[in-house]
Symmetry: C2
């Protein structure tokens, strides 16, 4: 019998989950919950129903794991504890600083309801966190580095679009090659914000807007751009659509550390992602962890978990025996 | 209270474990078991005792986790099940094809004795296996690649040294850059053995040996060299000692896969290790898993486990709360 998956929220992430479910033969998508009018939401999976978010409770015995695809700013802090009263859930809550708070709220709700809730699943937080953690456990004396990109930052693209005179825009975060190489060479560099990443913006102006003023406003924007070397390109709406409609991302997690009685040997652990579609990759990670949630639930576990708490084998459709024979 | 560690076998790996234990403040090395005369074995840790292997049983209440540092060919198949009757154990059994058999023997012994036994811990098998498994669970449609090196292959160095006329030698396995780049570029290449790695040998001849004959014998050696492009350099004993006495290694695990309703997006997951000392890095992984073995044992678990079965958080000295706050 398949693992019956539900999706709450049908944006880029929800659609990504839908696609990922189709790639996993032991799962099926049964319902998509939406705050819009279900008539207006067209999903790709013919056998899945589109349901008003308010009617979720009626599905509590028909869904094994509900995947929450809302945003971290306002949706998930409310939704994850709410839905964890009814379903085993997985979310991709990514406001790093608020994870402890979110964990506590979700854990209380999930424990009270006897449900399993996995939070902050994706690639950062998620696979990047796992790699930071493994590498720190293996090399206790060392230095951590995370580089993001090349990829589209939604937050920075939004910041550009809020500027007066800007019709549309896209921002790429780009790791600085020489910094990455210094880390790989074991130089353990101390890197400032500016030395780690550059930012590249592609901007479509409103008619009559002042390009120089917009460029200046972008480059000096506190928090977002002021601490970086930023390049601004003005392009047409057609060019933006043609060349910059994808949502690629990725990055590097590195740990450089020493071993030996005199700390005489140096080691580098590097994990890299190169992603054509940020939301689809995030979704693929989430769906693998939905399998884990299903299995933990079958064991009678409950409460909140993160990627740190899940034994890797739970993610795979293969049995322990198959994994040992084929992948160890 | 510290986790009390024992080491069985004091070669490169045993010494590596000793060094790694010193880097982990929650552990202490209490004893080293040896088949040699303990008088002849000098360890680095002043507070650790050197004990005859036959007297291990007397230590069963004084050691929390025993780390087995013997070889996979003949030592571990016997030692791991034997020692698992007395201790929680960790080994680095690395004969991939025989892992299922080894698992079964160790599992039976450990279960009967109520002990935890972790097998095949290190980097391959070990961290490379984990990365293969995670990447396969995340990207079910894709292709796996493993490249080893640049690094010293003990087996191939031994093979060179068995040739008549060879006094000493070292062999490096080197990944072919263009093959690695083709994988990174998402070309999903089909690679032959020859296209993935080259082999480079540094050979010291006996006096009067025939260099051309030795070179020919190396290059045509079945299994070891015949399927590879092999380079042979003849050097002096001093040069070998000066330039090739290290045991570096490393490699790359990659998975290239697709997502999207039409499989229209491509992703690359890459895990890389660059190691100055193969045995010390392996030891560092083992020691982190010894912490996990200790914790599983404290929970009352027993039986054989591999890296696939261990939730990452068990490896870290930090609490779940600390990990969520600092590394997620």
């Amino acid at each position: 019998m398949s693992i019956r998956i539900g999706i709450a929220g049908y944006g880029n992430l929800g659609r990504g989950v839908e696609c990922a479910v189709r790639q996993n033969p032991d799962m099926e998508l049964v319902a998509v919950f939406t705050r819009r009018d279900p008539k207006d939401v067209k999903v790709l999976t013919e056998t899945a129903q589109v349901v008003r978010a308010g009617e979720a409770e009626q599905w509590k015995d028909r869904i094994d794991v509900l995947i929450l695809c809302g945003g971290s700013a306002t949706d998930l802090p409310k939704q994850t504890p709410e839905y964890a009263k009814l379903f085993h859930v997985v979310d991709s809550f990514d406001t790093h600083a608020k994870i402890p708070e979110h964990y506590a709220a979700v854990d209380a709700a999930a424990k009270a309801a006897g449900k399993v809730a996995l939070i902050s699943v994706g690639w950062d937080p998620g696979m990047f966190s796992l790699n930071r953690m493994y590498a720190n456990a293996i090399l206790p004396e060392g230095k951590d580095y995370t580089f993001w990109g090349k990829g589209v930052s939604q937050g920075h693209s939004d910041a550009i679009r809020r500027i007066e005179g800007v019709r549309d825009g896209k921002q790429y975060t780009i790791p600085v090659d020489s910094a990455l190489e210094a880390v790989r060479n074991g130089e353990d560099p101390e890197l400032t914000t500016r030395q780690k990443h550059t930012r590249e913006c592609f901007v479509v102006l409103e008619e009559g807007a002042d390009a120089a003023k917009v460029e200046q406003e972008i480059k000096t924007m506190p928090n977002y751009f002021a601490d970086y070397d930023t390049t601004v390109h003005f392009i047409s709406e057609e060019e933006l659509k043609r060349d910059h409609s994808g949502i690629p991302h990725g990055g590097f997690v590195l740990r450089s550390g020493v071993t030996g009685w005199e700390k005489e040997h140096r080691h580098l652990i590097e994990y890299r992602l190169k992603l054509d579609s940020n939301p689809e990759f995030t979704s693929s990670v989430i769906v693998a962890y939905a399998r884990a949630a299903y299995r933990l639930a079958a064991e009678g576990q409950s409460g909140c978990r993160t990627v740190f708490d899940i034994a890797p084998a739970y993610l795979s459709p293969k049995s322990g025996e198959e994994l040992r024979a084929s992948m160890l």
